[in-house]
């Protein structure tokens, strides 16, 4: 019906009360901005976790032993001492983990077979022990056993748990067993599957083989844990998804509060303009015309607020990622959902006041003082 003129009437009413309109829209601006920024932070954290999981390598199955011990090991060179973590690994480790060396060369399968006293160290370990000197070819004493440093790993930075991933010494697992830790237990095994289609089958075969080797009778629990990368990724992203949801929900509350603000102002506006509504009805406005007019006002407030809120939200997350160094990720879908939601808030909270206006009796409305 007569939408175009009604639209003009609604927009003019908003322009007439500029400050009021801006303040009302501010509720929605803050709400939508908060949703965009909070979901951006949550998604950013999720993406970071996912990237770290991916760095475990492609199509990898991880096997953990049932009993695990991990403790620091004292290392030293010359007068320098450093307390770090050591890992015994096979020569394939650097390929599977997609962790190339920054300098030098990794140890070889031959080194693993002969339990040679060679190792690769992380950037942090290197700077702590050797300072500015080149560690390649230097001797590193680990628990008084001299090892030769063959390479330095590319830096990875902090993990999501805040652990420095570059504070590490990696040596052939045979050397670790014989010369440093003692014993022949493996803490974990990483298996890379050539054909991703066979991942499930491989996992089952690994389980049955290990049960056989460990002489575990049927019905008994495994003394090891087998996880494929997907399962680990699911567990890790579940946490950040909950965080995103929580942040989004808190921000969503402020959007609802903004909606209540719109409803409040629209109710005031209907009361203020009772006479105007009466006049419009007296000269022939239908209830639907009045309803549309007030609904357009509410939806305009909320959707213009939503658009500004989107800009503010994106700006806020950019500022957070630059100054607070938090990773943020703005997705098109979160922007679209926030905008549609703000428009829906306008319709939802605008409907009651608009219906109240439309249901006014013209005689009563004209008499209203």
């Amino acid at each position: 019906m007569r939408v175009a003129p009604t639209f003009n009437v609604a927009l003019r009413a908003l322009r007439r009360n500029k400050l009021r309109s801006v303040l009302t829209a501010l509720g929605i601006i803050i709400g939508v901005g908060a949703v965009i920024a909070m979901v951006g932070i949550g998604n950013g954290a999720k993406a970071q976790v996912e990237a770290q999981i991916a760095s475990l390598g492609q199509n990898v199955i991880l096997i953990f032993s049932g009993s695990t011990t991990s403790s620091g090991i004292r290392t030293g060179w010359g007068g320098a001492n450093w307390f770090t973590r050591i890992y015994g690994e096979s020569a394939d480790y650097f390929d599977i983990r997609q962790w190339p060396l920054a300098d030098g060369a990794p140890f070889t399968s031959q080194d693993v077979r002969s339990a040679n006293k060679v190792c690769v160290i992380g950037r942090t370990t290197a700077t702590q022990i050797y300072g500015n000197e080149n560690p390649i070819g230097q001797i590193l004493r680990i628990k008084e056993v001299p090892f030769t440093v063959t390479g330095v790993l590319t830096p990875k930075g902090l993990s999501t748990q805040g652990v420095d991933q570059d504070d590490i010494v990696i040596m052939p697992y045979t050397s670790a067993m014989k010369r440093v830790i003692g014993g022949t237990n493996l803490r974990n095994i990483n298996v890379q599957i050539a054909d991703p289609q066979q991942l499930e089958a491989a996992q089952q075969q690994i389980v049955s083989l290990l049960r056989q080797r460990h002489n575990i009778r049927p019905g008994r629990d495994d003394d090891f844990t087998v996880r494929n990368q997907q399962e680990i990724a699911q567990a890790a992203t579940a946490t950040s998804r909950v965080m995103t949801l929580l942040l989004g929900a808190i921000a969503g509350v402020s959007l609802v509060v903004g909606g209540i603000g719109i409803m409040n102002i629209m109710l005031v506006s209907v009361t203020e303009r009772t006479r105007e509504i009466g006049v419009r009805m007296a000269v022939g406005a239908h209830g639907a015309d009045i309803l549309t007019q007030f609904l357009i006002e509410a939806v305009t407030l909320s959707s213009v607020g939503g658009l500004i809120g989107i800009v503010c939200g994106i700006g806020a997350s950019k500022i957070l990622s630059v100054y607070a160094n938090w990773p943020t990720l703005i997705s098109i879908s979160s922007v679209a959902i926030a905008f549609l939601f703000s428009a829906a808030v306008g319709i939802f909270f605008g409907f009651y006041p608009a219906r109240k206006a439309a249901a006014l009796d013209p005689i009563e409305a004209l008499r209203y003082e």
Binding site: R16, H286, L366
Partner: protein
């Protein structure tokens, strides 16, 4: 066309319910107004004349009885149909003008066309509004807001608004109630001119000297018509205005 009757009320009753109480406001009014008449509806407050005016203006429906406007029974139409009739066939003039504040005179006048079924372009709207404003002597004041206009000028804007859709009948509820005597005469000049052009005017007033500008006076009391007579000594607003003008010189 129903022997020329534009408005026919047949045994109209209006009863208001306040809780358990039933308050009759109009009790059995039958009235016939022909095209081109100028009727003053008179009576003290509480006589039912305002209620009758609301029924005549299709703002309200009779509890019982029939209202036939321009040959069609409108007594049982729904809200939206009544709104269409108010828009197309009736022009309203109120005691307190009821103009939209902070809205130009032209836009106030255009208001009924906004809700009309006719599709007019922006410039057609403007042209028509300007034309009607000029006919009530407000040429050049199209962009003034009500707060920038005197009471008499505001009432003329309201009259222009009532006329924009070329209504069958002009309804005025105490149109001079808020105006001084000189401005009241000016408004009556306009009413008499409009009536001479063939527009039917029905006006509620409690002032006998204002009622004297009409052609016919209908007196109400206690919700019923007490007296209905043609005005024998009709006042001519235009000549009175001229006399006043001459005496002040």
């Amino acid at each position: 066309m129903n022997n020329g009757a534009l408005v026919r009320l047949i045994d109209v009753h209006k009863v208001y319910r306040t809780g358990e109480m039933e308050v009759p406001a109009v009790r059995g009014v039958s009235l016939e107004i022909k095209r081109g008449e100028f009727v003053a509806l008179m009576g003290a407050s509480g006589s039912g004349k305002s209620t009758l005016m609301n029924i005549l203006g299709c703002l309200d429906r009779p509890t019982t009885g029939h209202y036939i406007l321009d040959g069609a029974d409108v007594s049982s139409l729904d809200r939206d149909r009544l709104a269409d009739i108010r828009n197309g066939k009736i022009g309203f003039v109120f005691q307190n003008f009821n103009l939209l504040p902070r809205t130009s005179a032209r836009e106030n006048v255009e208001l009924p066309l906004v809700y009309s079924s006719q599709r007019l372009t922006h410039s057609e709207l403007r042209e028509r509004a300007n034309g009607v404003l000029a006919s009530v002597g407000l040429a050049g004041r199209e962009d003034h807001h009500p707060s920038q206009l005197s009471g008499g000028q505001q009432q003329r804007v309201a009259i222009a608004r009532a006329l924009i859709n070329q209504p069958e009948v002009l309804l005025a509820d105490e149109p001079t109630g808020n105006l001084d005597s000189r401005t009241s005469i000016e408004i009556m000049v306009i009413f008499q001119q409009l009536n001479e052009r063939g527009i039917t005017v029905i006006m509620v007033t409690h002032e006998p000297d204002i009622a004297a500008y009409a052609k016919r006076n209908v007196m109400m009391r206690d919700g019923a018509i007490l007296d209905d007579h043609l005005v024998s000594q009709r006042s001519d607003a235009a000549s009175q205005l001229q006399q006043q003008h001459a005496s002040t010189l």
